[in-house]
Subunit: 337 residues, 2 copies
Amino acid sequence: MTTNGQWRLKSRPDGMVKESDFEYVEEPVGSPGDGQILVRNLYLAFEPAMRGWLNDVKSYVPPVQIGEVMRASTVGEVVESKHAGFAAGDIVSGMLGWQQYAVADGEPGMMGRLTKVPEGVPPQLVLSALGGTGMTAYFGMLDVGEVKAGDTVLVSGAAGATGSVAAQIARIKGAAKVVGIAGGPEKCAWLRDEAGCDEAIDYRNEDVGKRLRQEFPKGVDLFFDNVGGDILDAALLNMAQNGRVVICGGISQYNEKELPSGPRNYMQIVIRRLTVKGFILVDYFHRAGEAMGELGQWVAEGKLNHAEDIQEGIENTPKTFLRLFSGKNLGKQLLKL
Amino acid sequence: MTTNGQWRLKSRPDGMVKESDFEYVEEPVGSPGDGQILVRNLYLAFEPAMRGWLNDVKSYVPPVQIGEVMRASTVGEVVESKHAGFAAGDIVSGMLGWQQYAVADGEPGMMGRLTKVPEGVPPQLVLSALGGTGMTAYFGMLDVGEVKAGDTVLVSGAAGATGSVAAQIARIKGAAKVVGIAGGPEKCAWLRDEAGCDEAIDYRNEDVGKRLRQEFPKGVDLFFDNVGGDILDAALLNMAQNGRVVICGGISQYNEKELPSGPRNYMQIVIRRLTVKGFILVDYFHRAGEAMGELGQWVAEGKLNHAEDIQEGIENTPKTFLRLFSGKNLGKQLLKL
């Protein structure tokens, strides 16, 4: 009998999430019943939005409960299948959580649904450029932001998994200028050299407002925000008239104990006649095929670069999650099991 | 020779605007040169946005300078005309400021442009329901908010000149439910009895969040905000999925010394997939005829009620302006000269 190492939510984080908010547990690997599939996870994926799932508040998905295995996107290999649609050896993506093994149902909704990864596609790619983060960038830029040729585009959190794809989609679609904001010279160099950005702003070492005024003398047509806080406020003061702001996320806000003050410059929405839109990927799941097809083609054509930060070992799972909030990851944060 | 009493900006307000920020001056009435028109003002109009014009910051119009006559919308009667388009006795609207008389040019842009008031139209109506505030509600509800039959609609500052027209336009367009927020039982009664609201929320005496949850169990489809602050935050927590927020103004913010914290609940824009839009009336001036035509028809048909709070006497001008910020006015704040 094999054991299944799991990380379960032990306590709700108070402010910054800590390793001790999770508890490592081992239990016997489960047996698939009729219609079920036993999967061995190969990679776990980490996203800033997962921080929100730890709070006991109503949101677009239910919170993770104390004692539950932490929810997360995964890819794995089918070990045993009692479901006609899957066979041992299939590579599958799903949301099987922070554990080495999981028994999945066929398609009981978003959380347990498995998708086969086509042969020839590196498994970790369906967690990054072709996965939730890539699709978030895809629909956020194209459907919500309506990026078009000639736009001046700003992306915050641009060295992250979603931001880097968003910046490159703007480039592919003919944006006049693409500027990414990230933390540190290494990430900024990568944005310029690999991720289609004309310029990069290092928010840790530069005056973001000053750089925005320099880079966008006529204002930003489209701002794709993953960060919120001071960066959103600086961007609002540098939007072009009739500019669009896509609120994809707000990583600067997720670990605050008290609800932080909102964007102080929000009256710029009026003064500059802005349109600010939010969105959630789940609303676009029915178009996942379209997104994965186009994203996959861009990857194959060499138009879409992607970076992955791959940590290893189930014991390092919470530590890997925390890398997102200290800004350690360049590109998609993954853990290999 | 007649004297022209004027109120000029004496000092920039520090926080709440005060009467002493303005200075009363008398000077001889000017003489119109070729192409100019001498107008005697009959009514001065007051809007919350005028508070923003007193700050020395770049915005959608230049700030009023120290020593300048305070900018304001007006209606008046032509006393003497050396312009082919105007004759003595014409009733004209324009932005002639806080003064008894003004020499206006024909059409040198927004500030000095005069528009003839058609015969039979009460002059003060072109400062309220058929003027800037009515048109702001018109374009804000129809073009920006895209109100449609079946929408659940919330309006803040609903007993004000713009809010009350906005609420009634929602009613006219077949909204399923229209709720207004205002301060005090008198205004709330007026909203229910005269201004097309199904319900009114008295923010001074009621828990706005609790009432919103009661009145909108399925959420607000369209929120037309004139207030900002706590009311915007409460509304964000009660928006329907894919709801629209029109930011028309933020009167709760205008007199703060420090830039207030923005909407703390702004991440609801993501969670609820909201679209938040700002706008400025000047972008719609080319369609003023359309708006005034339709608004005028609704007034004539008895579908659009309007209230005016009319103070009197040039000496009371700054005091009348301050009524806006203590919430004294029901409907359009005017001063009769």
